[in-house]
């Protein structure tokens, strides 16, 4: 669906549903999914329909993914980091390894 223009810049290794991918440093998680050829990043809790990022600016919430075990993250607002684990969400997913959170 999308191709990258040249002069993209340095890459950052991430995993997408367990697959290794070289993301572009500075890209959001949602942009990274498109660059990796991923169209749908979740299924809805209501009907299980497939959805992908729609607005790329944080208003549609269709780009919700699980990032490093934290669910319901807006992928278009989170920049990729080295070693980031990106996982698609099915339904009302809560990852079992959600970290305990804040001190």
């Amino acid at each position: 669906m999308f191709k990258r223009l040249p002069e993209a810049g340095p890459t950052v290794p991430v995993t997408i549903d367990g697959r290794q991918f070289a993301a572009r440093a500075g890209d959001s998680v949602a942009a990274t999914l498109f660059a990796a050829g991923v169209k749908a990043c979740r299924t809805t809790p209501v009907s299980g329909a497939a959805r992908g990022p729609f607005c790329m600016m944080g208003v549609c919430f269709d780009c919700l993914v699980t990032i490093d075990g934290r669910p319901n993250q807006q992928g278009c607002l989170v920049p990729v980091r080295e070693g980031m684990r990106i996982e698609s969400q099915s339904g009302a997913r809560i990852a079992v390894d959600a970290p305990p959170g804040q001190p």
Binding site: P45, R70, P71, N72, G91, A92, R93, I94, A95, A98, P99, P100, G101
Partner: protein, 377 residues
């Protein structure tokens, strides 16, 4: 002021209790008109936690609550709508020995009074019923026939049924002055006046104004208990869970979102009808949930709100006839736990109006329990 409509009974307030009164009056053969300043179910009735609870009620409320619960278990027949009522029990959890002692004492007290609806459960049964509960809990008090319903849908259903039986609802009509002319009541509003033989005050957080006009002031406090709801989560909870020492009401809805309440208060402006959430207070509720349900730690809180409610100093409502005026009745001040009582309170109103009495013990709810100056005795 021009007369808009008349009926046997004028009900001020289109919350659940007003709609329930209208419904039961229709069943008793009396016409009623309901005056509602916003829309039916706009305030506390439409936005509460939806708890349908007999568990750990004030002793005076227990007989009413049990009678109401019997009606809840046949709600679809009463209002042609299931109101989203589901019953998986309510459990008040003990986090420590003090909690446990208090709950066991409560069980003993209820049994001494002849009630068996509340039962202490030990750790094994507690965790079998609430597997997601933190393991520091010691046990709980359960009422197995309790549950929850959808507050707005319930109020709307009572209204629809009352209307189907001929009652009239006037929304966007604000009652301003009540006065007795001869044998009748006239209520002047911002949209004309209404007349009836009997007056019923179900005006919720604004009910004290009616009382003042009737010469029987009451010490009503306006409160705004806060609620939060999360995005959907995988199903992990069936019963409604309550805290003991720490206020909490916690349930997973049929949509799998999680509702967190417990009565911490927002700032409220009664006349502007606005509330302002207090996030430090909500943080305390969140901390309680954190401690009790580890699975909730990554949950997304995505809306908070507060209903505008009336609290009486002794935390029980005013139900019964006016002490100063004939043919006037009150049902208000439900102190953040009136939802479950809705079905029975309307019946009580209808009984009082048609026969002058009710078989349920309403003496503790009399408006006369405060002296004439409006202070508690």
């Amino acid at each position: 002021m021009s007369l808009v409509a008349t009926a046997d009974v004028i009900v001020i307030g289109g919350g659940l209790h007003g709609c329930s009164a209208a419904l039961h009056l229709a069943r008793a053969g009396l016409s009623a008109l309901v005056l509602e300043k916003n829309y039916v179910g706009r305030h506390a009735s439409g936005v509460n936690a939806g708890g349908v609870r007999t568990l750990s009620r004030h002793e005076a409320e227990v007989p009413l609550s049990l009678a109401a619960m019997a009606m809840w278990h046949g709600i679809a027949e009463l209002v042609d709508d299931d109101c989203g009522f589901e019953t998986h029990g309510q459990i008040r959890v003990a986090e420590n020995e003090d909690d446990a002692a208090a709950l066991r004492q409560r069980e003993a007290r209820m049994r001494a009074l002849g009630y068996t609806h509340e039962r202490w459960i030990d750790r094994d049964e507690l965790f079998a019923r609430v597997p997601a509960l933190a393991r520091h809990c010691l046990g709980g008090l359960i009422a197995v026939d309790d549950g929850a319903a959808l507050p707005y849908q319930t109020t709307a259903a009572f209204r629809r049924k009352a209307e189907a039986l001929g009652q009239r609802f006037f929304e966007g009509v604000r009652a301003q002055r009540v006065q007795r002319t001869g044998d009748a009541w006239t209520v002047d509003t911002d949209r004309g006046s209404f007349a009836g033989r009997v007056l019923v005050n179900c005006a919720g957080a604004w009910a004290d104004r009616i009382c003042a006009q009737l010469g029987e002031p009451v010490p009503l406090e306006v409160i705004a208990p806060m609620m939060m709801v999360t995005l959907r989560m995988p199903r992990f909870l069936e019963p409604v869970v309550l805290g003991t020492a720490r206020p909490l009401s916690f349930k997973q809805t049929q949509e799998d979102t999680v509702l967190i309440g417990g009565g911490r208060r927002a700032r409220v402006e009664r006349d502007a009808e606005t509330t302002e959430l207090d996030f430090r207070e909500l943080a305390a509720s969140a901390q309680t949930v954190w401690d009790l349900f580890p699975v909730m730690r990554a949950a997304s809180v995505h809306r908070g709100w507060a209903g505008i409610e009336a609290r009486m100093p002794d935390d029980i409502p005013v139900i019964g006839p006016s002490s100063t005026a004939p043919d006037a009745y009150h049902a208000f001040g439900f102190s953040a736990h009136g939802f479950e009582l809705g079905p029975i309170v309307g019946r009580i109103m209808a009984d009082l109006i048609t026969t002058g009495r009710t078989e349920l013990p309403i003496a503790p709810f009399a408006i006369t329990r405060w002296n004439a100056a409006g202070d508690s005795p």
